[in-house]
Amino acid sequence: MRTLFAAAAALVLALPALAADKVTLNGDNTKITFVGTKPGGKHDGGFKTLTGTATVEGDALQALEVEIDTESLYADDPKLTAHLKSPDFFSVKANPKAKFTSKKIEKTDGGHKVTGDLTINGKTKEVSFPVTVSRAGGVKIETSFTIDKRDFGMTYGGGKINDEVAIKAVVEAK
């Protein structure tokens, strides 16, 4: 009888988790892009291959995990793509993966504030950024924020290239 009660209690406790949707992220349903700027100009880029999960309950984001294949990096110029993959920036041969793992997600007026560990170029830094979630016709998660490339060991081009890089991520899953 005690075992039966324990199983029932465990089931009740697990119900909210069962109700949450775990969305599998991949390069088809998730676009991660970035914009690097310099005085008088900018360049666009992004990553084609990634994996991860977003746990969503209703329109509330509960957890977010993303792992990016850095060798899938692209930019708007082939020479720039080669340069961004080099040790001056992402060192993709030495650091083939970039990761984000959420640690804390808070509800805000406009959506969520996600805090977690971002690892790029072998360096991990805690970052926070705003996220909006909508459930119209599936799950849509959007965020845009900036990072300082020096926090991730990318010191090349100081003064010539701006240190702040704008990141945008959009998940559209059915």
Binding site: G41, T81, A82, H83, S86, D88, A94, K123, Y156
Partner: protein
């Protein structure tokens, strides 16, 4: 004529970048090496030339890397894979220059055992894991480091003066140009620093006829390490043998110090020296220029 101009533009960094490199890499490295070497010789005399030249190279590397941030000084997570091995370059450079500094005073088997050990350590640190399935890449890298160290050292001791460091300086600057074509500015800077420092040391040696061989230890490790890591970690159309050719001059010029070439008359000996020094460098540069361009990316 316009074709030549266009080709020149494809392979010349933009003027502001050249000025910046002059201000933060080439100028400071050459000036620091020249001033430190000259002051040490003035203070302690030519007997202190070997440790003085080693100290000059070390200061040049420190000043230029401080201004340019080409390499981070220390690894973030030592002994935790997979930290990029080039994070160890400054510490290894310090180790080699330390050894170069005491090369003049130490003699005998202890000196050689130590040099073999540090060359082997460099191979263990810098030869990528993917190349370690067999032992020969480790042995070959250690041999390149050791021969690129003792060969120029022997030649500079036979013929004190500025020729040997000047030749090495030009070859390192050529290697830097190859690396710039492989789209890694920080690695290109790493090669330009010892190149410019060698030119500064050569100027002092030309005037004083001092032995500059203490300066050779660090670059003997740094240059092949950067070229190997650059070949492995950059994305370009430059074939591997261009990187290999760029690393050869320090190894080849050592031949001039040994018989039968060392018995050649002065002019022929130095003609051969310049051919061995600049021949592979020019070949590497030509191959790199044909394979890639230096179009401004940012």
């Amino acid at each position: 004529m316009s074709e030549w101009k266009a080709a020149l533009e494809r392979h010349t960094p933009p003027t502001p970048e050249l000025i910046e490199a002059g201000e933060s890499v080439l100028g400071p490295a050459a000036a620091a090496a020249l001033v430190v070497f000259a002051l040490d010789l003035l203070s302690f005399g030519k007997k202190a030339a070997v440790p003085a030249s080693s100290w000059a190279m070390l200061m040049a590397f420190g000043v230029a890397n401080y201004l340019r941030h080409a390499l981070q000084w220390l690894p973030d997570k030592p002994f935790q894979a997979p930290a990029p091995s080039w994070h160890w370059l400054p510490l290894m450079f310090l180790l080699f220059q330390h050894d170069g500094m005491f090369g003049a005073t130490d003699r005998g088997w202890f000196l050689w055992v130590r040099r073999v050990i540090v060359s082997g350590l460099a191979a263990w640190v810098f030869v990528p894991t993917a190349m370690r399935a067999e032992y020969w890449p480790l042995a070959a890298f250690a041999a390149v480091v050791l021969l690129g160290w003792i060969g120029p050292e022997a030649l500079a001791r036979q013929s004190p003066g500025g020729v040997v460091p000047l030749g090495l300086g030009f070859s390192f600057l050529g290697a830097s140009y190859v690396m710039a074509h492989a789209h890694s500015a920080s690695f290109a800077d790493c090669l330009a620093i010892p190149g410019a420092a060698m030119v500064g040391i050569a100027l002092v040696s030309f005037v004083t006829k001092a032995d500059p061989s203490g300066a050779f230890a660090g670059p003997a490790m740094l240059v092949p390490a950067i070229l190997l890591l650059g070949q492995q970690s950059t994305f370009s159309e430059i074939p591997w043998y261009a990187f290999f050719l760029a690393a050869l001059p320090p190894v080849l010029i050592g031949l001039v110090a040994f018989r039968p070439i060392s018995r050649l008359g002065g002019t022929w000996r130095w003609v051969l020296f310049w051919a061995l020094c600049l021949g592979p460098t020019v070949a590497a540069v030509v191959i790199a220029v044909r394979a890639e361009t230096l179009i401004e990316q940012w």
